[in-house]
Subunit: 254 residues, 2 copies
């Protein structure tokens, strides 16, 4: 299989971290070997697995700044068949230090290539901007998954994101494909959200996942328990949705 998936959207709070955590855990539960990579200096993914972004070392900061390190050198346990490449808070200053490096956009890609045969999926969480860290994810990835909360302000950000992505595809990474747009945090009883979902469906057609991730408190509570919601509350609506998403992703990339 050997797929590298970037999960990105410069709009904040749309469920990027939650999707990386739970898609990763659900694919691992299906039997795949998965690595999730945290490229956000806030370290929400790292903290959701119980690691401390203020102490963890080595992290993706060292991975990006020290070309002799490979992804395998920084992995931590995340569950059965699931490993985590944690972020440290210093990742922010790493971004500035990388600006002067000629291979600044390819650091992550090079770090992953050495171990890619050991895993079926590498899934990368990104910060809410299109800076150098997110560009590293888009250069390293073969697939892009875009979570979009079903509301107007989140929807308006997708077109500019895709414009930047096609630029990266034309100039640096011709292999990058849109895996799909994922509706997230969808409230069950909101006419506005339903209208946004319809709009996404008519614009993205078969590029919109058939799975919609519902708004479900269990998703917000799970990180407190250091578990993916598919383990914390397996019978919740959101857990079922992420399991369906994992099926869709595995079928699409077979």
């Amino acid at each position: 299989m050997r797929r590298v998936i970037a999960v990105a959207n410069q709009k904040g709070g749309v469920g990027k971290t939650t999707t990386v955590m739970n898609l990763g855990a659900a694919l691992a539960a299906m039997g795949y070997r998965v690595v999730v990579v945290d490229l956000d200096s806030q370290g929400a993914l790292t903290a959701s697995f119980g690691y401390n972004p203020y102490q963890v070392n080595p992290s993706t900061t060292e991975l990006l700044l020290q070309p002799e390190l490979s992804l395998g050198n920084i992995l931590r346990g995340g569950g059965e068949r699931l490993d985590v490449a944690p972020a440290s808070a210093e990742l922010l200053s790493a971004e500035y230090r990388l600006l002067k490096q000629p291979d600044r956009t390819h650091r992550l890609k090079n770090a992953i290539s050495a171990v890619q045969d050991d895993f079926d999926f590498v899934i990368i969480d990104t910060p809410p901007n299109l800076g150098l860290l997110t560009v590293n994810a888009l250069v390293a990835a073969g697939e892009l998954l875009i979570p979009v909360k079903t509301d107007y302000l989140a929807m308006r950000g997708v077109r500019p994101l895709l414009e930047s992505v096609w630029l990266i595809r034309d100039k640096i990474n011709p292999k990058l494909d849109l895996l799909g747009v994922l509706p997230t945090m969808h409230p069950p009883d909101s006419p506005h959200a339903a209208a946004v979902l319809e709009e996404l469906r008519s614009v993205f057609k078969n590029r919109l996942f058939s799975t919609t991730i519902p708004m479900d408190e269990a998703a917000a509570v799970a990180p407190v328990t250091r578990q993916a919601v598919i383990d914390f509350k397996p019978d919740s609506l959101v857990a079922a949705a992420y399991r369906r998403l994992a099926e869709e992703v595995s079928d699409a990339l077979r």
Copy 2:
């Protein structure tokens, strides 16, 4: 009065833009003269007033790159006693171009100082990161308002934000004060959210606004209509909450 308020939180999707829009509109409705400033290249605040971040010129991009411009030169109408300093999509590249300038952290402060006497409040929306644009807002401001969605991942970001803020206060802007932490997007029936709110109350004490902004679909729909929610649906729970917030802010700064 003449207050400059930065609304900031590097965590994405916590209600920064919604708070700037509605606090601004509610203070204008109370009779104050207000300017809201958009420093996010996504231009959510700009679009919420009906302006197009891909076409608007001059914008905060020109304001930051051309020191001879002052805030007054770029203002657009936003309603009675309410003006908008719109953002353009180029703001992102402006951030890189500013890096080399010696006065890069003070550009906004200098642009505002020329017109500060003409307005009672200047309220600044920031992107979901602590980059140079947000630093400009924190240097220009006398007050900081931090919106925090009442969930675990949003809560964990407040301490690192405050650490960066106190650094800016010590090194660059000794006048910067914490106006308050504002609980936002609070669902009425979630034990988790209620627990987070309690935690915020015990940590921030009188620095937590007594107003809590409820989760209310009207807030997500209002930007589609190019209106603040206090005008779009004045009898909604969220409109009432933002009116109460405006009272609290005006009382605190009298």
